[in-house]
């Protein structure tokens, strides 16, 4: 089993994204360091537009995530509704 991870700057824009990730990935753990939050998850991690929109109460384009994205590890599978990190090629 291998972890994938994704990290964001800590701010009010990234908070609903982080909350949505934690809601959709029960096995994920978030580690906060100054200015930075790193979320690790075993095998895969999914980010769903719908969950972020619920948190936010407004429409959200997953591309906006890039404004506060810092780093990630894992292969990306993305479409308009979700963004998945995993080690499957």
């Amino acid at each position: 089993m291998s972890n994938v991870f994704i990290a964001f700057q800590v701010n009010e824009e990234s908070r609903p994204v982080v909350d949505a990730i934690m809601a959709d990935n029960p096995n994920a753990t978030a580690v906060y360091s100054p200015g930075l939050v790193k979320i690790d998850a075993p095998n895969s991690l999914v980010i769903k537009r719908e969950t972020i929109e619920e948190q936010l109460g407004q429409r959200y384009d997953l591309q906006q995530m890039q404004v506060n994205l810092v780093t990630l590890s894992g292969h990306i599978d993305e479409d308009d509704d979700q963004f998945t990190l995993s080690w499957n090629h």
Binding site: S2, E13, R59, D79
Partner: protein, 483 residues
């Protein structure tokens, strides 16, 4: 507000392709339009098979980058307006920013130039974005740190030092090597060298630690730069797999570039290692922890997924892992020894720092480095200061000082070897693979031996204890005064 949103007919990837690559007209004679595509021996049969995740369209790109900059400049302005320099953990911290500006900010500019060239040589839209990104990184680092330049020494002439000072030869030669590489080598170098090894350490864990040390300005610049670099990392790694899948002849070429650039980046990361372990008054993770978390573990996993393609871990992977328990301490001791001629300040670590290092490096610090650090502290306490201003012998490949080669005798010995002195076996092997190019580099490093800081810049160098930076910071009553 309940208007039904009509989803566009094309998905994200289709839209991106329709608005970028598919806008270009088919080139009937690609060999004549893009001669550099074939110069390195790489064979591409189907460019359309190259997929680039995270890639925005041009319209999205401007919007995203604009949003990023608006956030960043709000923070850097607030930092400057609020006299952010007074909130630093200590004036020692400013030296990490000096090293960032002197060694890494200029490489960002080289990467901007490199990607611009590659975009034209290969006809690659992504590289044009990446070129603009690196220019942005160069600029935001200068903007974010410019506030410190008003209050601290050691920042005003960073480009001059980058070009001339032996300490920065490791960074300058890295940039020169990148800029003189062919387009595919450049892309592989950025994908497996600079971005994962330097970006993921300097621009992630160090920048978080910078925030902890009261520097929201540089921290925000570093983290927002990394938001572009992560896109480069994804694009670069996709490109490496694409190259190997296109033709069996590409595999040995790509593997050789991986071996070279991973090692060169590892050597360059020595400077990040001292920033992380020695230049942060409020300490966070050790360099070795950062290395494991952000470089070694994720890269090992990437290579595992590349194994079916025939790619293997960089040739000197094991040496690189072993080095991490030593490298920050070795580099710091060397900087201290030559502090009289450096464009920044160094110092003997205090008791708390020594204990923290012992705890973080249980296998090596107490046995190998603590006595040296304590000896240095003892000397400084008794008014003795390192005086050496001449440069040490530099490795023919990575341009870092060769261990044990100090003093006039060693310099003469190195001259007789025409620069063929090496810090390690991997560097010697890399030199032999491209002896002409590295010999030229060694010649330029010989010129650096004849260069020293102009007398008027003496205030920028020497130990931190007794420096103008130390004096000023006390006068302003800045920082937590914890040390």
């Amino acid at each position: 507000m309940d208007t039904t949103v009509k989803h566009p007919a094309m998905n994200r990837t289709q839209r991106m392709l329709a608005l970028t690559r598919d806008l270009a007209w088919p080139v009937r004679q690609p060999d004549e339009v893009f001669p550099a595509r074939s110069q390195e021996g790489i064979r591409i049969h189907d460019w359309s098979a190259l997929r680039q995740p995270l890639q925005p369209t041009l319209e999205q790109y401007w919007k995203l980058q604009g949003d990023k900059d608006k956030r960043l400049y709000a923070i850097t302005d607030a930092f400057a307006q609020n006299n952010g320099q007074l909130g630093l953990s200590d004036a020692r911290y400013a030296n990490a920013i000096k090293l960032l500006l002197q060694a890494f900010t200029p490489i960002e500019y080289s990467a901007h130039r490199g990607y611009a060239r590659v975009a034209r040589q290969l006809g690659l839209t992504d590289a044009a974005f990446q070129s603009a990104d690196h220019l942005r990184h160069h600029q935001v680092e200068i903007h974010a740190t410019s506030h410190f330049n008003k209050y601290f020494n050691g920042m005003h002439s960073f480009t001059e030092w980058f070009d001339n000072h032996w300490m920065l030869s490791v960074a300058k030669s890295y940039a020169d090597d990148l800029l003189s590489a062919g387009p595919f080598e450049f892309l592989v170098a950025m994908a497996v060298g600079y971005t994962p090894v330097i970006g993921n350490t300097l621009h992630v864990s160090f920048m978080s630690a910078a925030a902890d040390n009261g520097d929201m300005s540089t921290s925000s610049a570093g983290l927002t730069a990394q938001s572009d670099k992560v896109r480069h990392q994804v694009a670069g790694q996709t490109l490496v797999a694409f190259l190997v899948q296109q033709d069996p002849a590409n595999l040995p070429l790509v593997q050789a570039w991986i071996d070279k650039w991973f090692w060169r980046s590892v050597r360059l990361s020595s400077l990040v290692a001292v920033m992380q372990d020695y230049m942060l008054p409020y300490r966070s993770q050790s360099w070795q922890q950062v290395w494991a978390l952000y470089v070694s573990q994720p890269l090992a996993k990437v290579f595992e997924t590349w194994e079916p393609l025939g790619l293997s871990l960089p040739h000197h992977w094991q040496e690189a892992q072993e080095q991490q328990a030593h490298v920050s301490h070795q580099t710091w001791l060397r900087l201290c020894r030559y502090s009289a001629g450096l464009p920044l300040h160094v110092w003997a670590p205090n008791a708390a720092a020594l204990n923290w290092l012992s705890e973080k490096y249980p296998g090596t610090f107490d046995a190998l480095f603590r006595p040296h650090m304590m000896g240095l502290g003892h000397q400084v306490a008794h008014g003795h200061r390192p005086q050496e201003t001449t440069a040490p012998v530099l490795c023919g490949t990575c341009q870092l000082p060769v261990p044990g080669m100090d003093g006039a005798h060693a310099l003469a010995q190195a001259q007789s070897l025409k620069g063929r002195c090496f810090c390690s076996l991997p560097c010697q092997q890399l030199f032999n693979l491209d002896a002409d190019k590295h010999s030229a580099q060694a010649a330029s490093s010989a010129q650096r031996h004849g260069w020293s800081l102009p007398a008027k810049q003496a205030v920028d160098s020497g130990l931190f204890d007794g420096s103008q930076d130390e004096h000023n910071f006390k006068e302003w009553n800045g920082g937590a005064q914890h040390e």
